[in-house]
Amino acid sequence: MTATAAVLKPAPARTAGPGRAGVRLAWLHIRSRRVPAGVLALAVCGGVLHAALHWHWAFGSGPYAQQIPMITEAGAAAVITVTSHSPFGETERATGRWLPYLRLFAAAGMCGLAIALLQLGAAGESLNEGILVLARNVTGITGIGLLCSLVTGGLLAWTLPLGYLAFCQYALLQGWTAPWTWPVRPPADRGAWICACAVFTAGLLLLTIRGPRTRLSDEE
């Protein structure tokens, strides 16, 4: 074999199986959404919750006791919604048929991770209303944020969860009982669970199908 032939001989193709390619695709997807940094931000929320409970920044009981946990839960939800932003925009939509599934699993996975990290932050401390309300708040408020991302884009999707949080602080002190104010309802309230899950499902489905709003100016 001549040197020329050796040069012209095609290099052995890197045989990446469908599994490995899938993992790489998923990794690239979550990296493009800054999910690793998002996980760090969720850990910060868990740390803040832990500090608030440990050093008694929050009240031990009564309506005020839910205020700081609710803030950290809304913060976690806001972080999840912000990770829905894509830096590629229309280009990405045109190329990948796996994109909706990636969006679905990224958002759902982040939500589960947020609940786990916040629960970890509350471990060993007395969390008002417990893990059930925490999980319900995170899922429901994440749903609000995902719905908001369809209108505002991912980067500003944290505004509506914060607005809902501010409203719920009022509802908490006024003792509202409407199921759509689920953060102020007790853990076993079925209507609150239905509302939170419905909002989360709607947000997740619409995000999966349509994706967040993208604009050329939305870069990071």
Partner: protein, 529 residues
């Protein structure tokens, strides 16, 4: 140099200054137009309406009470959005990948960032002041006395500016998609932690944390706060100084932001010299350093001053800032009226809306005991003493001739007397007033004003029966007291019914004969006719 040349040069300088101002104005106009804040304003307005406006509407139209929603509710909502949106605005150059582009413009980074900051802050302050107007204008239309307090507004403005500066600086220093929500969450946690401290504030700030006094949020004041005495501005002034200091220091940090991004030299002194001397405008950097130092000094001074605060009868005072003239009682002429049976009732003009209700409540029972020893000849509202949640001073009968004194917070067992309760819709409100008057009448003769601080003792069975009987005779249903239980066989209820069924003259005669024994507790319920 001829006068003509001087005039020409002066004219050119003026023209340059005008052009510079016009350019800055144009930049600011562009910034106001392109800012993200207007898009968030509808959401902020909705939250503001649900939380702040509705809460304020539930309060009586007393200026200090209504103004308390600025720190307790309004600032919470504005903090959430101010911190987040300011961080969003601060990270714009990085987000748009325009750092290199704007670095080549003939403007200092500070000037460039200041325009963005001014646009964001302008929108926020405009919205904040509009919100204050939305609270104050209805209050002005409803309030019967007093004027709008400005210190809560100033503290609120300082809070919005400080939060905006924190958010903007974080956005410039750590530009990223998570900066906005994380800043907002951090600010809200700080706010709530301060609120938690403020509610647990005791008489000594040293024992409960100076942070509590620096928090703009706190317990709702008593209903007559600022009515009998001016609210001392000491704590608000310290809050403004503390938050203003933070804002000024962060403004200085922004001036150094570009230089701080450069890797710091190992020698900090050399690094500082390089910071001041490097770049194109060392003067601006020196000003920035001065601003940082001044801001830190102001905040530290405010923190130290708050540590010296002490609780007095008229509120928190800081000796170094306190003006003794503000301790003088606020002069007023009480609003008085007499019921159909001639019992005179007075309220402070700030609560004149309650005058007829109070007179209607007290007149029938006052007529039942009129002329008896120790029976009050009139009722007058006095300043409430104490604080929430430790409790307020009770109502009492004091002086000679005896006067029934009640506050806007507590009468007998009835709390929150003038907190917007619709008296006509709630019979217990009226009965609570009657109980308060009869409690102090039946438990003992009136004390001199100075000795009547503890209020009436708990009623015995016979006293309770007589009180209930008098109230039934006056047309009221006696409300059950907290923890009250009738004696076995319903002795109190039976005695009260018997006593109420007597003719008015017989009741009056029996009371005249047995009042000393009844007060001494030597009469049993069974002995009541």
């Amino acid at each position: 140099m001829t006068p003509a040349v001087i005039s020409l040069r002066s004219g050119r300088a003026t023209a340059r200054r005008m052009a510079s101002l016009a350019a800055a104005g144009r930049l600011l106009r562009l910034e106001l137009k392109r800012n993200a804040m207007p898009y968030v304003l509808p959401l902020l307005a909705a939250v503001f309406f649900f939380d702040t406006v509705r809460t304020a509407d539930g309060f009586p139209p007393v200026w200090t009470v209504r103004a308390s929603v600025i720190g307790d509710h309004m600032l919470f909502e504005f903090s959430a959005f101010a911190g987040g949106i300011a961080a969003w605005a601060g990270s714009r150059e990085r987000r748009r990948k325009a750092l290199d582009l704007v670095a080549s413009t003939p403007r200092a980074a500070w000037a460039r960032l200041s325009v963005t900051l001014a646009g964001t802050l302008g929108w926020l302050l405009l919205a904040f002041l509009a919100g204050v107007a939305a609270i104050y204008i209805p209050t002005a239309l409803q309030a019967s006395w007093g004027g709008p307090p400005l210190w809560p507004v100033l503290a609120g403005v300082a809070g919005v500016i400080a939060v905006t500066m924190i958010g903007f600086t974080c956005g410039v220093a750590v530009p990223g998609r998570f900066t906005g929500p994380l800043v907002a969450i951090g600010v809200l946690v700080l706010y709530q932690a301060g609120f938690r401290e403020a509610l647990g504030l005791t008489a000594s700030p040293a024992s409960s944390g100076t942070f509590a006094l620096l928090s703009p949020a706190g317990a709702v004041p008593s209903v007559d706060a600022g009515v009998y005495h001016h609210v001392a501005p000491d704590v608000s002034a310290v809050q403004v100084m503390f938050m203003g200091g933070i804002a000024v220091a962060l403004l200085g940090v922004l001036g150094l932001a570009a230089a701080l991004r450069q890797p710091a030299a190992a020698d900090s002194l050399r690094s500082l010299r390089a910071l001041l001397a490097g770049g194109d405008d060392w003067l601006l950097r020196a000003v920035a350093v001065v601003l940082v130092a001044a801001g830190v000094a102001a905040s530290w001074t405010a923190y130290s001053l708050a540590g010296t605060a002490r609780l007095t009868a008229t509120g928190w005072q800081i000796p170094a800032l306190h003006d003794a003239a503000s301790d003088r009682p606020v002069p007023f002429i009480p609003d008085c009226t007499s019921g159909p049976r001639g019992f005179k009732v007075c309220v402070h003009p700030a609560f004149s809306g309650y005058l007829s209700e109070v007179a209607t409540a007290l007149d029938p029972v006052a007529a039942e005991i009129a002329g008896l020893p120790g029976a009050p000849v009139r009722a007058e509202q006095v300043a409430s003493t104490g604080t929430w949640p430790s409790g307020y001073g009770p109502s009492r009968t004091a002086g000679n001739p005896p006067v029934f004194q009640y506050s806007g917070e507590q009468v007998g067992d009835l709390f929150g007397v003038f907190w917007g309760i619709p008296a006509g819709d709630w019979p217990d409100w009226r009965a609570g007033f009657q109980q308060g008057l009869l409690d102090s009448f039946l438990t003992g003769p009136p004390h001199p004003a100075a000795a009547a601080r503890t209020g009436p003792a708990p009623l015995g069975a016979a006293q309770q029966a007589v009180e209930d009987g008098l109230m039934i005779a006056a047309g009221s249903q006696p409300p059950l007291r907290i923890g009250q239980r009738d004696h076995p066989g319903g002795q109190i209820t039976a005695a009260a019914s018997r006593f109420a069924s007597l003719p008015a003259s017989a009741r009056h005669a029996w009371l005249a004969a047995h009042l000393p024994a009844l007060r001494a507790g030597t009469i049993t319920a069974a002995q009541i006719p």
